[in-house]
Amino acid sequence: MISRREFMQAVTAASVIYGGDAAWTQLAAQQKMSQSDLLSFKPYGNVTIAHLTDIHAQIKPIWFREPSINLGVGEAEGKPPHVTGEDFLKLYDLKAGSPEAYALSSEAFVALANQYGRMGGIDRIATVLKHIRSERPGNTLFLDGGDTWHGSYTALQTKGADMVEVMNLLKPDAMTGHWEFTLGAARVKELADALPFPFLGANIFDNEWEEPAFEPFKMFERGGVQIAVIGQAFPYTPIANPRWMIPNWSFGIREDEIKKQVKIVREAGAQLVILLSHNGFDVDRKMARQVEGIDVILSGHTHDALPKPLKVGKTLIVATGSNGKFISRLDLDVRNGAVQGYSYRLIPIFSDVIEADAEMAATVDKVRAPYEKELARVVGRTDSLLYRRGNFNGTIDDLICQALIEERDAEISLSPGFRWGPSLLPGQEITVEDMHNVCAMTYPAVYRNKMTGKFLKEILEDVADNLFNPDPYYQQGGDMVRVGGMGYTIDHKKPIGQRISNMTYLKDGTPIDPAREYVVAGWASINEATEGPAIWDVIEAHLKQNSPVRVSPNDAVKVI
């Protein structure tokens, strides 16, 4: 949702730095950056941690617009990662129009995307990792924070096998998970048991006997330092995602369990304790304060990309972003059982600048080959920027909500506030791959049902509390549920039951009537045996009638 004003600013800013001509500026941008610049890092200390998280099966380079709205509540209010746009640039002293501004913020996204190109690509990530390992042989630990086996057409078709194959080539030392579990318990076990590295989850228990269902931690020795990596899977997987797919596993934050594991690994001689976390940033910030003895939290789930680690007490929290846009390198000096100092870089994966690793590129081609024709099939075109990430409706969700209303003959539509899903630029063709990047999942059925106005209010209040509860341990979901056909006003600082007001039926501008029943269409229901067509079929049918699409910014959701 780039405003004209923003666009003009971007053009102005860009022309100051790179001159006016578009083709020329692109060249200049690429010349300005080089692979060696992006990888340059003065080795420090005796341990190097490389962190990748929330790649959501994006193994090819993508566009991904960071949020322009990401409200923090309680102690997180106004603090990273709840700082966006110009404020973010100011906070981290980044120049508008710079490569960093493009990678890390939503400012002038379209203009800068055209200049700096797509980001990510697992073959580029392979190049970076090989470089780090060659510079730090014997010192490097590479950890995957999860949300790895989900989010693309091929990951869905292969039930995660494509991701396992490419990730194994990167040789992670451990991983944890969240969306992995939407493959179902049997498939997760099958894949996890075959990994040449552990799938960690200190907070996953058999719910009948309360026995650990996964290994809680793994000890490593790097650079002469005993390192413990404790895994923390997404605590609310059985609530935010279908519990019926993993009926025998219980998750939860389980702060006491993490305290216990820290004690165990310290007693076993760990000099460096790392929490490989899929908690989400605000939960990690609280956990860092509550649990003593964690040196580093590698934070995942909320997709935040921060140029510097955040320090809470003695704990460093690293946030590596999502979709393969970044990889974190953290060099640590660990002596006398404590971290003496660190050096950090959030390495942006500019796909036009970092060379692809040949072996990985060939593997990517191989896993995609059976699906290449379908992946490339064009289903429509967009004339405006399509994106999802942000607290409230993104343009791609508005498109999905419109498709739900029109294709399912509904009055109101609901679409989940997922944080995954890359962006599409104005003028871009929409392929089957692009479409699946924003909706591929194992529970895609589109339901159609009647709900009263009162019920709709309760849903909005419930979801809002899962996002804006001032205690992060009580935050459960993704961003706010997206709505079509209905507007509302939200005061996110109010308690549950009082946040949502002014609910309006957009078709005729009348207030939502608590007693009236509305026909509602939605997808990704966590209930077993939900029936209806798959969401991608609904979107495709809509695009067939309405391409090219032009989605104007949503002004029906108002934030106080």
Partner: protein, 151 residues
Amino acid sequence: MKSLNRREALVFSAVTGGLLLMTPTGAFANAGDAMKTMEEFTGGKPVGDSKLIALEMPEIAENGNTVPLAISVESPMTPDSYVKRVIIISEGNPRPEVATFNFSPLSGVAEASTRMRLAKTQNVIAIAELSDGSLHMAKRQVKVTIGGCGG
């Protein structure tokens, strides 16, 4: 991956059920009923939060129909000093008294675990009465949510 193609309306019962649970009616207990149960247990004596008693419950229930609950009270559990009983009180269920665990020095430790049903988001309270007559309380808020929308 099998996609469902039946174009008819789905049954939304599970979510509806969840919400009905969240919407208390006159039949549900309120904080006043819970207070009455508490007073019956304490005999009206004041009781405060205590580090001696731990009440372990999830912050958010995975399944409101069966929420795990564990209590433990620090005590030497000797004839001179032991935990007599622990009550679990719900502020939002139809009946405030969930369970009472009785202990004796022969129990060895004052620990118990069970599962309870939660009608809606509410506080769960555990109060221990020790052999010296002292009272110790722990409280946890447990949220019951529709879920979904998972990140």
